[in-house]
Amino acid sequence: MKDICGNNSLLSAYLDNELDDVRRLEVSGHLEGCAECRRQLAALQAADAMIRDADAIEPSATFERRFWSKVSALERHRPPAWKRWLQPGWRPAMAVGLTAGIVLCALILAGDRKAPSLEDIIISENIELLTDYDLIRHLDILENLDALEAMKEKS
């Protein structure tokens, strides 16, 4: 009990109900047998009571009207929504948004291009070799194959 007796900080926390259950019981037990600590506690309670009993005031008659005038003034001077985006507080958010937009556009545009097929890759890698064949060199003849067959049938 030595650390309790005369410990005003502890009594203050006791008064505020801020002690754990064990400590609270210890202090309660001590108070029962210690007149000086009871007197100290009563003085702390009396100081609190003086604060609570100090004259409370009613807000003045004009309090509310003045407040709503300030709100109206605030609303009048509030910039439109689009302008608020240009205010310093929003600039980092805008920068992040713009960057994200640019990246997104780039990804969409890149997605439109078809990737070359395996066949295209093989042809491009061997284009010189392929052009050595007569068949390939005169491949345009094949485009008129239908016309050639029709002429053959007539003859």
Partner: protein, 175 residues
């Protein structure tokens, strides 16, 4: 507050009506001057109004409201415009007359004035913490969040505030 954030203007009127007296009195006990207290309380409500779009309920609304009120008191009271007004302090509030004899009224008024002065002479943080505890009935943890200190520091602030008040008001406390 969430209703107001969602666009219900009436909800803010209700909050204002519900808490205006509590906030005005917190500010009044903090600074001891009616006009200044009303200005501070209005500033606190204006900050709440402006902050509504960003409001996220992390604690009770009342805890948040008094956090703003306490910070307005701590910061704004240093402004020259308020300092001048506070220097001409000591006006007494109107009280119900006819309740008691003139001597008793006078003694009571004097006691009230001394209590106000004693509170006002406490260091700012002690005063803010003690009033949040006694007037607002907030826990040490809540006060810690409100004034940006640890709960242990709040415990010390409140204890020292009470001791200082006891000394200043010893005459009235019968010590």
């Amino acid at each position: 507050m969430l209703a107001f954030k969602a666009g219900n203007e009436r909800a803010f009127h209700d909050l204002f009506d519900k808490y205006k007296k509590q906030v005005v009195n917190y500010c009044y006990r903090f600074c001891g001057h009616r006009e200044v207290a009303e200005e501070l309380a209005q500033e606190a409500f204006l900050r709440i109004y402006r902050a509504a779009p960003r409001y996220r309920p992390k604690a009770r609304f009342r805890t948040w409201l008094f956090k703003i009120a306490a910070n307005v008191c701590l910061n704004e009271i240093r402004r020259p415009v308020y300092r001048h007004q506070l220097e001409s302090l000591d006006q007494l509030p109107e009280r119900d007359s006819g309740r008691a004899g003139p001597d008793i009224e006078l003694a009571d008024a004097e006691r009230q004035r001394m209590v106000r002065l004693a509170i006002r002479e406490l260091p700012d943080k002690q005063r803010a913490a003690l009033l949040l505890r006694v007037e607002g009935e907030f826990s040490y943890k809540e006060i810690a969040a409100q004034i940006g200190r640890s709960a242990n520091h709040v415990k010390t602030l409140i204890h020292r505030g009470r001791l200082a008040l006891r000394q200043k008001l010893a005459l009235y406390l019968g010590e």
